[in-house]
Symmetry: C2
Subunit: 378 residues, 2 copies
């Protein structure tokens, strides 16, 4: 019987739209219950129809990881954008360009050196930026500690030079390393407290700090309350993936992104099925390697999305996926996984897998697909 996906060439990145919509609703409703705005991180999808679905559901503003994303989204009419990576001085001209065209762009700093570079550039170009200060709430990356005096020095440097102090933001990225709801709730509280404390430090000194922005998908889905916070940011919740499944913030039926692939060969003596989805399709992300369940290069599913538990996707070459089917004799293997059979692979990390494709194939509840292009590069 012909299948609605038969016309697609493989490998292809499929978005299951009903699942995506459910994911969007889930975090949106949660943010509303917690009394905060949701500013989705579009680095996961880099895809306008996805981003517009998030905004249509109630999200306010977006977060980007590159100024390329900012330009792309601004060109599509989205004007409230937080560029959530400490800005390299060399990127200030691009930021100014966006601002001069009417984009309400927020830029980020976490050091006096970078704050000074912003101030100098702004003075030279007679402009003012809206600047956020990055707070380190879990030691995993950048940011200033809430009790670090540099926080005040940075804020004063920016404020005195006429920059708009937009607020403080933090990202408890270490949440990806957890896998129980108690630890996640504790980290969410640590993330909230660090950011709220930083905001209070600034306000106590008479410095403005209108926004308090926290988030990562696991903490956003785990926080018991978000007192003092104005917005949450999260990215991968829109698709979820096997890493998030291991973290414990989604169920298998919540995974909206999969890679459609075709069986191209076998090595029967080894129990191998070979497909046309290698690391170029899946990415080299092995995010589940050190989690409670290692999914190799992804979880193999039937075309209908049923998990094939016995399948281990252990090796990926550029355009070859090597999957071992344990305990199947050769003739069963050949008849169940014939050449030309199509499978779907759930990725470890949706952000990394999506990035391998110029476009998604968006699959609706009726089985129709539509190509949705996505952004590549910087």
């Amino acid at each position: 019987m012909p299948h609605s996906l038969d016309h697609l060439e493989t490998p292809a990145a499929l978005i299951d739209l009903p699942t995506m919509s459910r994911n969007i609703q889930r975090l949106q409703q949660r943010a509303e219950r917690l009394g905060v705005r949701l500013r989705p991180h579009v680095k996961t999808s880099k895809c306008l129809p996805v981003i517009k679905a998030q905004l249509a559901a109630g999200a306010q503003g977006i977060t980007v990881s590159t100024l390329h994303e900012a330009r792309h989204c601004f060109a599509a009419g989205i004007d409230d954008i937080l560029y959530a990576v400490a800005i390299a001085p060399g990127k200030l001209p691009q930021a100014l360009e966006l601002q001069r065209h009417g984009c309400r762009l927020g830029i980020l700093t976490d050091s006096l050196e970078s704050a000074r570079a912003i101030v100098e550039f702004a003075s030279r170009h007679q402009c003012a930026f809206s600047v956020w200060i990055e707070i380190d709430s879990d030691g995993h990356r950048g940011g200033l500690k809430a009790d670090d005096d540099t926080l005040l020095t940075v804020a004063r440097c920016l404020h005195a030079a006429g920059m708009r102090l937009a607020g403080v933001m933090t990202h408890a990225g270490s949440s990806y390393e957890l896998n129980d709801s108690e630890s996640l709730q504790r980290l969410a509280e640590q993330e909230r407290l660090a950011c709220v404390t930083a905001a209070e430090q600034l306000r106590n000194q008479g410095l403005p700090c209108p926004e308090v922005s926290v988030g990562s998908t696991p903490t956003a889905l785990s926080a018991a309350h978000l007192e003092g916070v104005t917005e949450v940011r999260a990215g991968v919740y829109v698709f979820f993936d096997l890493v998030m499944h291991n973290v414990g913030v989604c169920h298998r039926e919540d995974l909206a992104l999969s890679v459609l692939t075709t069986v191209i060969g076998h090595q029967l003596d080894k129990g191998w099925v070979i497909t046309d989805a290698g690391w170029m399709a899946m990415s080299r992300d092995r995010g589940t390697q050190r989690q409670r369940r290692d999914f190799g290069y992804g979880q193999v599913c039937s075309l209908e999305g049923e998990w094939i538990e016995a399948a281990q996707f252990h090796t990926a070459n550029q355009e070859h996926g090597l999957i071992t089917l344990a305990n199947l004799d050769s003739s069963t293997l050949l008849s169940r996984f014939p050449i030309g059979l199509r499978l779907r692979i759930l990725p470890n990390h949706a952000c990394a897998t999506g990035a391998q494709f110029p476009a998604y194939q968006a699959l609706d509840a009726q089985g129709n697909t539509q190509a949705w292009s996505r952004l590549h590069g910087w």
Copy 2:
């Protein structure tokens, strides 16, 4: 003093052209000394100016990993193309399309099921394909063993139906796991012998087998002789990378691809320098993880390309690279690696890192750069 790379936005993928030219010459001359043709695998660069430099140096024909690469190169006038992945039956219409436009495309099979699918399709569309048979020379992926009777069955099936038997090909990909010249030479001989034996099996049965194609970068650079072989294929030799450096087939000065990045922050108490090249720029490839030297996400170099041995690029987030500088006090760290400083990172795996970028920046001996677009997707 202004530097010739100052105008580039970061992250950027730089090709050092003099180094690339030297690499191209090296394998080309080796192939000529060994009396075989060189058919470079363009999956590494996916970039026409690079491919044309390989052909200009004497390469004959190209190898591709996707039909998208084949279409792209054929449109640029390259018509001798081997698609070196066992073809999925669903891709035969694309192969036919190329052939009908005049492309001398070779397709690949390693099973009776797939050979039958080719024959059936060809009969339905009244066409004939040029078909190569994949030989398994080291058990690492697909292919038929040289002494497997299926080899003859497959060849007869194709031949009887009027397909052109182009030859046999093998790829000893397990060469990536080696690191001494003796083992590499031994594997190169194993690769050669398997493929030559397979060709003899076919010829002994009166079946045509004009071509005998072997290769991987390490074996191509290690073979003592290639008697009976007509062509070698190799991809990553054009750029080399840290994986190849660990394998021992290149020196550090042979690495032609690097990622230009900017310092965007620090965590002084941890000795961290944070850059704007995360895994989106480097890829998630950790190919050196189990080799004799683990380079993390890449080897950090100065803008001039000097290795900074004390720098460990241990963690990559999407747009953040975390590099630890051992044994530097805070003020030295800040003065030697100030915000805005540009660095170059040598990648683990050039094929994977290149794929993250829509274009390379080709840097010539005079310090001029030119954007060279590269292919993305399928």
